[in-house]
Amino acid sequence: MLKTFPKGGIHPPENKITSSKGIKRMTVPKVVTVPIAQHIGIPAEIVVDRKDKVEIGQVIAKSGGFVSSNIHSPVAGTVTKIDQIIDSSGYKKQCIVIRTDAKNEANFAEIEYPLKTEIELDPKEIVQRISDFGVVGLGGATFPSHVKLNVKEGVKIDYLLINGVECEPYLTADHRLMLEKAPEIIVGIKILMKALHISKAVIGIENNKKDAIALFKDLTKNESGIQVAALQVKYPQGGEKQLVRAILGREVPKNGLPLDVGVIVNNVGTVFAVYEAVQHNKPLMERVVTVTGKKLENPSNFWVKIGTPIKDLVAEVGGLPEGTRKLVNGGPMMGKAIKNTDVPVTKGTSGILVISEEEASRGKAENCIRCGQCVYVCPMGLEPHLLMNLAEKGMYEKAAAEDIMTCIECGSCSYVCPSHRPLLDYIRYGKNIVKKLEISKN
């Protein structure tokens, strides 16, 4: 029996059409647009000026506080503009625009580092390096990694979980990375284990990536501290609370963190970024992005420099097909729809999904027939139909009492609703108001 989380979850069509496509390096863009708020927390502070010449990997915005992160220039070139530009959030955000220096060879050099297994840095230095080199969680939440690793005195941690689940349909960035950079990822895991002073790590991979499971099992057969857990394919297993429950059987308390049950979770992409930062002094300035969609000519996985406009990626896979109705930054379940292809790739961009007319349109919302499907699929044990009603009617205190804030916004409820009710839309709306009300109360 494969492990999984017990309550709720769905199994949408996987559509992993790019799982056999090796990661190609994207052409270096002529111009990169780098937002200073690519992570959760305080935006970074810009430390360059217009017309400044910058080197590849140079810090262009410095961490703005405890929960913040450095931002590095992905190219060598000249800062041409510092301005408010619409990013994938749909809002204008402060961005640094850099024109790539076409003559600088560093921009185009293909650096393949030899595998370096020996970990020279001590735990403190490791965390400092991760902080300096701007590593954030690449699974989507973009939480600054060094903050996660700064475990308070007295908090007991015994497990590091590596999230190789990639439960979102379509996306294959983590899958390809696991296949192509497995030895590096294992070194990265050891680095994190050293930094956390723990001896046990488990890599969780869903069973639709049998090749990755086999590869990691083979590579870790002599590693007593690192295990591989093959997981049943079920969305949203990549949610960290679901992952901890699936692999270790531990239930993260309501409003708590995996830390509360002695666990730290990191995505495989993050682990690879940690490896490069610690072993090869490479800042986080590129990532793997899956560019996919059923109608695309040549959907693929790419190594992409942060700040690359999404239109470059779309052009690389054959352009937007006729009848494109939706562009999504991320996967189909939790990704964000974007308005056009001008927005740049950021540290949190795991995929670009192009959705056609047939798939994009939502059905007309009808009356709730009280079938209870939303209740069965909710992995958090909530009652989405009830929360939607409460949010719609403005009964926010009741919604808070019904645990609306514990919703992880996985979208399983909206996915299954036979009446096409916009459950998650209203729950999100309710959450926002509850959050505001609670702030004003304190």
Binding site: G256, T324, N367, C368, R370, Y415
Partner: protein, 335 residues
């Protein structure tokens, strides 16, 4: 290009399930029982069903168009099911005007007065049936016997239902051994050659449809299985204590509306609880009330009353039997 790009919040894909598909699955599941009713009662079953369905659809249309002035949703399959289920709960040969009145009550009072699909507290078809039962008790308990010629209209030759025979016999102090001589055999009841409402004839046909609903995941086992098992256990206890005064559990399950109620009426999504725990409680109480009415009440049959009574408790059940919130009590400890 950006003209045609739409923005909406996640999720961006949908399971392609629709309420309509769910409703039509129920209709498909009712086909075997309908065919049996045609076989047993001939054209009068067809007339009954056609009138009930047509009037349910018509009343929903008229109410939406002229009273509520809202969108017309008679195509969603829900009024269709109400019509079929109402017909299935009526005796063949019921006067046509009574079928129409029953449909009006089912749709008008049972469903639309609460706000239409999804808002009704009581199962509309049962509201219609019980209204007819208490208003026209004579006509509602005239059970035509199976017709020899399928094309003839069931006439006034009436027999009693097995449950009716038992109730009557026991009331006059007869023993089960004597009463059983007049009852159809268990096999006859299973296949569907006994008196009663047109849809509750054949346990076999109803079970076939029920299995279809289970396979299609329209319903889960919780309500039907719990309800039937509880009924069997309860009637079984009485039967074992005194087999001459109480009918066997098999008779109780196979006769009357037990199976029709368990698979098609009590499982109605709108009027049943939302959580599995709630469904179990709901089903147990339906069974208990049914058995109490059957054994000790004035009516020989109590499934309709039991379901309606428990329908009223569904909001309460939903309030008290909630799914367990993730992380609400921490069982797991750090090892």
């Amino acid at each position: 290009m950006s003209q045609s790009i739409i923005i909406s919040a996640s999720p961006h894909v949908h399971s392609a399930k629709t309420s309509k598909k769910v409703m039509y699955d129920v209709v498909i599941a009712l086909i075997p029982a309908f065919l049996v009713s045609l076989y047993v009662f001939g054209i009068s079953a067809l007339i009954l069903t056609a009138i009930a369905v047509a009037s349910c659809l018509l009343f929903e249309y008229l109410i939406q168009k002229y009273l509520l002035k809202s969108e017309i949703t008679i195509g969603d399959g829900s009024a269709l099911i109400t019509g079929i289920l109402l017909a299935f709960n009526l005796p063949a040969g019921l006067p046509i005007w009574m079928i129409i009145v029953g449909s009006l009550v089912a749709i008008g009072i049972g469903k639309m007065s609460f706000g239409g699909l999804g808002f009704n507290i009581f199962n509309p078809a049962l509201v219609g049936r019980v209204f007819l039962l208490v208003s026209f008790p004579v006509q509602m308990t005239m059970w035509p016997t199976a017709v020899e010629n399928n094309m003839s209209i069931a006439d006034a030759v009436t027999g009693a239902t097995p449950l009716g025979l038992i109730k009557e016999g026991l009331m006059f102090g007869d023993t089960m051994t004597n009463i059983s001589a007049n009852l159809p055999s268990n096999m006859e009841m299973f296949l569907g050659i006994s008196g009663g409402s047109i849809g509750e004839m054949s346990a076999l046909a109803l079970l076939l449809g029920g299995i279809y609903l289970l396979v299609r995941k329209v319903i889960t086992w919780h309500i039907p299985v719990t309800m039937l098992v509880t009924m069997a256990v309860m009637t079984g206890i009485f039967w074992m204590v005194d087999p001459e005064s109480y009918a066997s559990p098999l008779i109780h399950i196979l006769s009357g509306g037990a199976i029709l109620g368990a698979f098609y009426m009590a499982t109605d999504m709108v009027t049943s609880p939302m959580t599995k725990k709630g469904m179990l409680i709901f089903a147990v109480f339906i069974a208990v009330i049914t058995v109490v009415i059957r054994l000790f009440g004035a009516y020989p049959e109590g499934v309709s009353f039991a379901i309606l009574i428990m329908n009223a408790f569904v909001p309460l059940i939903n309030t008290y039997f909630k799914p367990r919130r993730f992380g609400s009590k921490i069982k797991s400890k750090i090892v």
